[in-house]
Symmetry: C2
Subunit: 303 residues, 2 copies
């Protein structure tokens, strides 16, 4: 197979492709390895007449023009499995960081603006005993729930479909309607995929329903949240704090967020660990090898 | 009872003492509520002729001159239970923060010095699949292990005494000697109490035995670690990173630590959540009420 890449990725994840020609020219390429942040357009496909498979690196694939693929009979695969644990891990990291004010205290110590060490100084909030509301209880949401339960949290969730009782019992998780989730949660975490119908699922009215002591965690997609409304809510104490890995107008981040103390900012790195990157490359390799062997049931097929 | 306080603490934790006289003068006081960061000396006790009980707020009690208490027949209590979850929570928060570089990325975004958002930028390390070595597998160490297991980590530990098999199985934890722990761990967490024989239990030789990719977490006591040796190890790449809540010469922090990027600094706030503070006050109240009722078996007796 002639395999082209849109982006330089760790070579060690592609060792099992050594019988194939890597780094092919577009006009020769039968397989394109694309990454979730690289737009694969109709015009690009027109330069690749032999293209049969786009093996996307990432769980999301809204970077790819699927209509153009459909017209050309190009198959598309993604890497849903290896993103689960790293993303849930970052969601948990941001939640515990903002509750325990880790980044904020670290910054204050380095700036010399911190309170002196004393019993009633530098206090923060515990996760232990609190209610976590998970919006989108898929595999990432569940991997977050597993961590939260071990931290002494109570789980409520909202999802398009209620989960089987067996899964609810695993996390002692309670299905609630969207409004109840907003009203009852001490921490709200967004873990649902982005589609236009969940655009601004968190806006001014929803922030207003949350507790004034609540924390919002977003590691899903920036456009889930009305960022201007969030800035306003953080400034005026409508909610306590937020921790964000994604932004509405990425890569731009609302300037106000950069100076607010009650926010933790992360550079869209939910899946961004070295281990996660290599696992994603291995999954791309699996998809390509299965395609070569005509084993479609072993591929993560999007199209 | 006449009850005096060394420090202003949240009143809501002392409501059940409303039949007693709070904020008594030293010469009247029968009970002293002291805090772990306030030294209760022999000279101080000499000003309190009626003192019968020192109800310390904190699990540690090296702030109190126990010999002087013994001579005077003064009882001493502490609050070991409510510190467990907040401290384990902070140890976990620091571990996941330093692995996923949360505070570092937040700082870089605010400073405008961060890498652009891109697939191979801003990479960090996963906890998932890694080995956590816990030095001191008491109640706090075990509460940390519970969180780590749910995060996909493998637990090894070193302790004065090997734990019962039942507890080892709960965390799938493996008892190892000290050197093996240092050599095999991706993350090393200190969760043992301070006594002079564990002074500098982590010094230059021990840092040298650790993996070059290893992370050190200290939420126990600063003097466990030779801070100068740690600074040197962090500068020269002997270990990857450290996350510290405690310091050898507290409240001073080695100046070098303030500018190293591969460190997370926390202002000795392991137990420092609002919820934890109130639970500690309630525990002090429990100890005082049990003392008043002569129910010594219900007190957390140190002396």
């Amino acid at each position: 197979m002639q395999i082209a890449f849109t982006t330089t990725l760790p070579q060690e994840g592609f060792r099992r492709l050594n019988g194939h020609h890597l780094y092919a020219q577009p006009e020769e390429a039968e397989v394109l390895v694309s990454t979730f942040d690289y737009r694969v357009t109709r015009a690009m496909m027109d330069t690749m007449p032999n293209l049969k498979l786009i093996a996307n690196f990432g769980a999301g694939y809204n970077n790819i023009d699927l209509d153009a693929c459909r017209e050309r009979g190009i198959r598309v695969t993604n890497t849903p499995q290896p993103v689960i644990e790293p993303t849930a891990e970052l969601a948990f990291a941001l939640m515990i960081d903002v509750a325990r004010r880790v980044a904020e205290f670290d910054r204050a110590i380095r700036n010399g603006t911190g309170q002196p060490m004393a019993v009633m100084n530098n206090l923060s909030r515990s996760l232990y005993g609190k209610t976590l509301g998970i919006i989108g209880m898929g595999r990432i949401g569940q991997a977050l729930a597993r961590r939260a339960v071990a931290s002494g949290m109570h789980i409520i969730y909202h999802n398009r479909h209620r989960l089987p009782e067996e899964i609810e019992q695993r996390y002692d998780a309670q299905y609630v309607d969207f409004q109840t989730l907003l009203q009852d949660s001490d921490f709200v975490s967004l873990n649902l995929p982005y589609t236009p119908d969940v655009h601004h699922i968190i806006g001014k009215p929803e922030l207003g329903m949350m507790k004034r002591t609540a924390f919002l965690i977003n590691t899903a997609r920036g456009a889930h949240v009305d960022e201007a409304a969030l800035v306003e809510a953080l400034k005026s104490g409508i909610i306590a704090s937020a921790a964000l890995d994604v932004y509405e107008h990425e890569p731009a981040i609302s300037t106000d967020l950069l100076t607010l103390p009650n926010v933790v900012l992360s550079p869209h790195t939910g899946t961004g660990t070295w281990e996660g990157r290599i696992a994603m490359c291995e999954c791309v390799t699996d998809n390509i090898l299965a395609f070569v062997a005509n084993e479609y049931n072993k591929m993560n097929i999007v199209l």
